[in-house]
C-alpha cells in the first residue's frame, strides 16, 4: 500500500462550506474531536454568573456604539451584525485581543462602563472565549432582552440609562472546569476526492479525445455513478472492462448498473496542525478569519441601457460573509493507494500530479479562495506516471470506441 502522510499550507484564504449559516455568516465545516489534552482551568464564576459577566462586556460595547452613524437597512439587521462581529472577535488568542477586536470592529474609541473591566478581570481567557464561541446566540439574545427591559425602565423613570446592571460578583471558592471535546474546522476527504475525480476525468477525456458520452456514463466518470439495477448478478468481466477503458475508475471507483468498483485511492480528512489535536502549538481558532464579499447593483449607474420589467427599481445588492482558514494555515493530510498493479499506481501518481498542477480546494475559488501549497505532496517509491499516459496513447482508439458506443 502506498501511504502519503504529508502537510500543506493554504496560500490564500480557504473556505469549505458547511450546512450551517450563522445569520449572514457562512461557517466552515466542522468535526467533533476529543481534545489531545483536556483543557483545565480554575474559574471563580458559576455557569450563570459566567454568562452574565460576558453579557456585561457585550453591554458595555453595545453602549459605546455610535448608532447615529448607522442608518437604514443596516440598522434593521444590527443584531445579526453584532452576532457576526462577536463570533469573529472570538477567534482571538486571549480575552484582551477579543475585546480589542470587538471594539475595533464597531469603531469604538473608548468605553466608560467600569462593569466591563470587572467582568474582564474575573473571566479567564479560556472561559470568555469558549463562552462566546459556543454560546453566541444565547449571549446576543440575553443582551437584547436586557436592552429591551432597560428601554422600558428608561421610559418609566425618565432617565438615559441604556443598561441597568449590577457588577458581577465572584464565588468565594474557585471551581475547576474541564473541557474534553471541541468542534474543529477541517476539509473533508470527500472534498479532495471530488475535486481530484473531476481533474482526473476531464484530463482522461481530453487525452482520449472524448467529446460526447452517454449521460449516465458521464455521471459514472465525473460523479461516481449510481446503482439502478437489481443486485442478483454481478458481471465482474464487465467491471474490469470499464477499468481497462478508464483506469482512473480503478483509482477513484464508481457505481455501474448493480455493481460497485471500489476505488483504490483512499483520501483522508485534512486537519489544521493545532494544539487541540496535539499536532501544533497554536489553537485552531488563531487560524480562522472572516472575510466578506459584496455584490454591487450596477443597474443604478447604468447609462446606455434601459431597464424593463417588474421590480426594476428594487436594488439587487448584498454583502455576505464567510469564515475561512487564513492564508498560511498548516494542515496534515493522508492519502493512500491500495493497489500494486502498475497501471493503477501510475494512474494514481498521474492524479497526484494533476492535483499539484491545480492545487485548489473548497468553495469561492472564483474570488481567490482555496489555493494550497502542495510542495510536500510526494510519492515515495512509486512508478512513473508515464505508464498510464502511455497506456492511454496506445489504446486511444479502443478506449474512444468503448465510450462512444456505450449505452448504459
Amino acid at each position: 500500500m502506498i501511504r502519503i502522510n504529508y502537510t500543506f499550507k493554504t496560500v490564500g484564504p480557504l473556505f469549505t462550506g458547511s450546512d450551517e449559516n450563522s445569520g449572514t455568516l457562512r461557517t466552515l465545516r466542522r468535526q467533533k474531536i476529543a481534545l489531545a489534552e483536556n483543557q483545565v482551568y480554575k474559574s471563580r464564576l458559576d455557569e450563570k454568573t459566567r454568562r452574565d459577566a460576558v453579557v456585561q462586556i457585550l453591554a458595555g460595547v453595545w453602549q459605546a456604539i455610535d448608532f447615529d452613524s448607522i442608518k437604514g437597512t443596516r440598522l434593521m439587521s444590527i443584531w445579526g451584525e453584532f452576532a457576526n462581529k462577536l463570533t469573529a472577535a472570538a477567534r482571538a488568542a486571549n480575552k484582551y485581543q477579543f475585546f480589542e477586536i470587538l471594539c475595533r470592529s464597531w469603531g469604538i474609541e473608548a468605553i466608560t462602563n467600569k462593569n466591563v473591566l470587572t467582568a474582564l478581570d474575573l473571566l479567564t481567557d479560556q472561559e470568555l472565549l469558549d463562552t462566546v464561541r459556543n454560546e453566541s446566540k444565547y449571549l446576543v439574545l440575553s443582551l437584547r432582552v436586557l436592552r429591551d427591559e432597560a428601554k422600558a425602565k428608561r421610559a418609566e423613570n425618565n432617565n438615559d440609562m441604556l443598561f441597568d446592571l449590577e457588577p458581577v460578583r465572584p464565588n468565594a471558592e474557585a471551581v475547576t472546569v474541564v473541557k474534553t471535546e471541541d468542534f474543529i474546522p477541517c476539509i473533508s476527504g470527500n472534498s479532495f476526492r471530488g475535486r481530484m475525480r473531476r481533474l482526473a476525468m476531464i484530463d482522461f477525456c481530453k487525452r482520449v479525445g472524448i467529446t460526447k458520452i452517454d449521460k449516465k456514463a458521464y455521471h459514472t466518470l465525473f460523479t461516481g455513478g449510481f446503482l439502478d439495477q437489481s443486485t442478483q448478478y454481478e458481471d465482474f468481466d464487465r467491471l474490469e472492462e470499464f477499468v481497462r477503458a478508464c483506469p482512473m475508475l480503478g483509482v477513484l471507483g464508481s457505481a455501474i448498473g448493480n455493481m460497485t468498483i471500489e476505488g483504490e485511492m483512499l483520501v483522508g480528512w485534512a486537519y489544521p496542525l493545532c494544539r487541540e489535536r496535539g499536532t501544533g502549538d497554536q489553537s485552531f481558532w488563531q487560524f480562522l478569519d472572516t472575510v466578506f464579499q459584496t455584490r454591487h447593483d450596477s443597474s443604478k449607474t447604468e447609462n446606455g441601457l434601459e431597464l424593463t420589467g417588474d421590480g426594476k427599481e428594487d436594488p439587487q445588492q448584498m454583502k455576505y460573509e464567510y469564515e475561512v482558514f487564513a492564508p498560511g494555515t498548516p494542515f496534515e493530510h493522508r492519502i493512500a493507494c491500495t493497489s500494486d498493479k502498475e497501471l493503477i499506481v501510475s494512474a494514481f501518481e498521474h492524479l497526484i500530479d494533476l492535483f499539484k498542477a491545480s492545487p485548489y480546494i473548497g468553495g469561492q475559488g472564483s474570488v481567490g479562495n482555496g489555493e494550497l501549497d502542495l510542495s510536500e505532496l510526494k510519492i515515495e517509491n512509486g512508478v512513473t506516471s508515464n505508464v498510464y499516459t502511455k497506456y492511454l496513447d496506445e489504446n486511444q482508439v479502443k478506449i474512444h470506441e468503448f465510450w462512444a458506443g456505450l449505452k448504459m
Partner: protein, 218 residues
C-alpha cells in the same frame, strides 16, 4: 494459536451502525489478497465465491464455526456526533454528456441524478482495540497491507487508522466470545450473558444464512 490484543489509534472519526468485526476485516484482506488484480466489489458476493471466508482459518482460531475475534472495543464515553457525506451531479463539464433528444436538464431532487447529503453517525474514538486468537504476525501483515481505515466511508477519510500495535496476551475462548455475537444455543452452553438480538454471527455479515438469534455484548 496465541491470544492477542490489537490496539488501534485513529486519525479521524469512525462511522458505523454496528461495531466493526475483526474477522470481517481479516476476511476482506484475504479476499483482496486472493483477487489482487481484480479488486473487491462490495455487496453481493455469494459465499462460495468468497475466498476471504474460506481462508480465514489461516489467520484465526474458530470455536464451532465462530471466528475467535471480537468486535471493535472502545471507551464507552467516546463522543458521537452527526457528520455527513455529500454528492451531486457535476455541471461543469456537462457539455460532454449526451442527452440524446431529451432536454439538457437533470432532476437533482429525485431519481438517478439526485443530490445526496447523507447523514453519518460518527464516533470520535481516539484508541480502540480488538482481541483475537490466531496468527498475530499474519494478521498484522494483512492489516498493514490492505487496511487503511475501518467502518463506513473509508475512502472519504472516515475511520483512518493512525497506528496498529499488536500485543500477545493470555486469552481464553470465552473472553473473546463474550465480546462478539454468538448464537443463543452456544451462548447458553458456555454461560455467556448479554443482550439478545437477531444478527449475523460470522462473515460475510451481510449473508442472510449467517443470521440467527444471538447474544451480543450489552
Amino acid at each position: 494459536m496465541q491470544g492477542y490484543k490489537l490496539n488501534l489509534t485513529f486519525y479521524s472519526p469512525c462511522v458505523f451502525h454496528h461495531p466493526p468485526m475483526l474477522d470481517a476485516i481479516l476476511s476482506y484482506c484475504l479476499q483482496r489478497e486472493s483477487h489482487r488484480y481484480i479488486g473487491y466489489y462490495a455487496g453481493t458476493w455469494r459465499d462460495r465465491e468468497y475466498d476471504g471466508i474460506n481462508r480465514l482459518p489461516e489467520v484465526l482460531e474458530f470455536y464451532s464455526e465462530i471466528p475467535l475475534a471480537t468486535r471493535l472495543q472502545y471507551d464507552a464515553d467516546a463522543p458521537l456526533y452527526a457528520d455527513s457525506w455529500k454528492k451531486r451531479f457535476e455541471p461543469k463539464y456537462q457539455h460532454l454528456a449526451d442527452f440524446g433528444k431529451a432536454k439538457r436538464r437533470i432532476d437533482t431532487t429525485s431519481g438517478q441524478y439526485r443530490s445526496f447529503n447523507m447523514p453519518l453517525p460518527a464516533r470520535v474514538i481516539r484508541a480502540g482495540w480488538f482481541y483475537f486468537i490466531g496468527d498475530g504476525h499474519r494478521a498484522i501483515e494483512l492489516l498493514n497491507r490492505w487496511i487503511w481505515a475501518i467502518g463506513k466511508k473509508p475512502s472519504e477519510g472516515f475511520g483512518v487508522i493512525e497506528n496498529l500495535d499488536l500485543q500477545p496476551c493470555d486469552l481464553n475462548e470465552i473472553e473473546v466470545l463474550k465480546r462478539r455475537p454468538v448464537p443463543v444455543e452456544i451462548a447458553a452452553k458456555l454461560g455467556i450473558q448479554g443482550m439478545e438480538q437477531y444478527c449475523a454471527w460470522r462473515p460475510p455479515y451481510w449473508g442472510r444464512r449467517n443470521h440467527a438469534r444471538c447474544v451480543v455484548p450489552a
